[in-house]
Symmetry: C2
Subunit: 385 residues, 2 copies
């Protein structure tokens, strides 16, 4: 087989695409990217950038002309165009069937539920009256989650309804029913965890360790590995991630986000059909990281080892503090700790709340590593000027 | 300080340049490259490629317009043009003074010798008669090394003279005195080792572990870390590497290649003012690899940790087997070992003996890791077709 000449196309050129490319380049793959922005993080490391709207079929067709396999860094993309391409014989991993199931939360949860994978109770809802019904005691009750079935990310497309009086605001916030909506029972979790899992074209799977996540304003803030859970919970979560990969027949790296409750129950919150922010720790923590194994999967190569090489890793996201031309402060001071890696995505414009970079700290214990990471969070800042 | 906007220029876009860029890109640096070939390994990951002969001043001036700091992946470059640029106020690391000393083996060895760093005895020679003198018993004797003082690499520019009858052939082989020549006493070494060392703008240094190297036809074949030497030899070698960095006032990653003799004496064979093939193991073996620390050095950042993260690493170079369009064989089979990373440089043309890629294997012991690496060497092949 002729690996050198296998050409890879990626839909989306954000930080996930960029980090996929950095791994693909080590193996010498040609990589073309489709992204709306000329200046996207992937632009300077890809071989070919096709600038195009991710809703417009045109860019997808152009991309398909240059590559042998298409993948994506992001699920809110034009699945029907990809379906047409797949029908025309183009290779797309994960498959369009998987993408279409995952990108609709109702279909995703239904697939999980019907395969006996624990998920919060959920139901599509047509309007305010139905939401009220689900809020009633004996039904899902309050708090109640309202979600758009498609297009959500980083808390967008989700609304927490604490009582009946908040239904209308939530309903309007999520588009007044213009997008399909669903309600979901609120899980009173004690921990949020996630697991990266990879599945090959041949169905072989590898699973990464359990990561523990903390969100701020619904955006991932910190990932700590190993997660502070007992081994029974860890095994249960790993089994679930394994099963999810079988259900979705996913080829590539997937992320399974889960809630853990006080009594140790686990519910799948969301599945992402791609490398994930909560898997960035694998770059420093594991021999083969989530991006490398994604590339290996779609290229038909066996996987690299997914175990931790060091006792503890902590990853923290850094969001833009203000708007303007991006400027990083504090790197020299942060690097006085010799076990720190900063990953700057190369976004020239900072925006308040925009994911601009992350950093990873490794160490001998979770406690020490977390403390050092917390200290750095106050030192490293991206401002706009 | 404004790291994001610091722009880096690299003279040379081969595999060393490419691997520097992959690290620089993680930190979001802009990187411009000067290389004679449009299709060089660095071309698809750099922000700007300036195509130009490395002897011609033109490309250097063009490069200097786009960047804040210039470095190089290779020492056989146009030092006088870089000197003019330095005099005009451009920042060049390692400095041109260092480059000029290192790129001439006579000046390099003289600097080492006068600073009490052990080197083989050496002397410039003007012609055949002088070489004959050095071959006599009581003088350096035979075997005797003849070298051009400039331009040599991978055994090129070196000739081994086993007896007086071979002097003329060696003399003609090295250009019949058109290039300055030197003789060197032959060291009957039992091991070849090397150490990567980094020095910052502020003079702070970090030193990597001792690597053990095996050459085939004067080209590096295998690097094994840790080296099979006792701790006294290891300490002595580390002290020498440390001293070398002080003598040359090097800023960036340097490689110090040394011979170890049966009685445990160490002689510096050669110093390279740049990341080195025998340091590729640091990508998998150490938290911060030689390329990352080179970038950190020239950007004025503190260093990442240089210790081994795993017990054993073996790196093997793979050279082109035949001429033609490059094609890699055996990757799927090689990747059945989950602790293997293959690095393809992205050279589209294979040539017999050309460095096309390397692979790294990690493991629990040197013995086991070496065995697995040896097995892979017979599986992975780059052919031309």
């Amino acid at each position: 087989m002729d690996i050198i000449k296998k050409k890879i196309g990626i839909v989306g050129g954000g930080q996930l695409g960029k980090m996929m490319i950095l791994e693909a380049k080590r193996l010498g793959f040609f990589v073309a990217v489709l992204d709306p922005s000329e200046d996207c993080p992937a632009h300077s490391v890809c071989d070919l950038l096709i600038v195009g709207d991710l809703k417009d079929p045109k860019g997808y067709y152009e991309l398909s002309k240059h590559v042998d396999v298409i993948t994506y860094e992001w699920e809110n993309i034009n699945a029907s165009t990809l379906e047409s391409l797949e029908n025309e014989g183009h290779v797309i991993y994960p498959s369009v069937k998987t993408l279409k199931t995952v990108q609709n939360k109702k279909l995703q949860k239904t697939a999980l539920f019907t395969n006996n994978i624990p998920v919060p109770r959920f139901s599509p809802v047509a309007g305010i009256n139905e939401i009220q019904e689900y809020g009633k005691p004996g039904n899902f009750g309050y708090p109640l989650m309202l979600k758009t079935t498609t297009g959500g990310y980083d808390g967008k497309g989700n609304a927490l309804i604490r009582n009946a009086g908040e239904i209308e605001t939530a309903y309007i916030q999520l588009g007044s029913g213009q997008k399909e909506l669903m309600v979901e029972e609120y899980i009173n979790f004690t921990k949020e965890i996630s697991i990266l899992a990879c599945r090959g074209i041949d169905g072989k799977k590898v699973i990464y360790p359990v990561a523990e996540n903390t969100h701020e304003n619904s955006i991932l803030d910190t990932t700590v590995v190993p997660a502070d859970i007992d081994s029974a919970t860890s095994e249960k979560a790993t089994d679930i991630a394994n099963k999810v990969m079988t259900v979705f027949e996913g080829v590539g790296t997937f992320c399974v986000e889960m809630f853990v409750t006080g009594p140790g129950d686990i519910f799948v919150n969301e599945v992402a059909p791609r490398p994930h922010n909560s898997g960035h720790y694998t770059i420093e923590g594991c021999f083969a990281n989530q991006f490398e194994n994604h590339i290996r999967a779609i290229a038909g190569l066996p996987f690299g080892d997914t175990n931790m090489m060091i006792p503890a890793v902590v990853m923290i996201n850094l969001l833009g503090v203000s708007d303007g031309t991006a400027r990083l402060l504090g790197l020299e001071k942060a690097y006085l700790d010799p076990y720190v890696h900063v990953h700057l995505y190369g976004k020239s414009k900072s925006k308040k709340g925009r994911k601009m970079e992350h950093f990873t700290v490794v160490g001998a214990t979770v406690e020490d590593t977390t403390r050092r990471a917390r200290d750095l969070k106050s030192i490293l800042r991206i401002i706009g000027e």
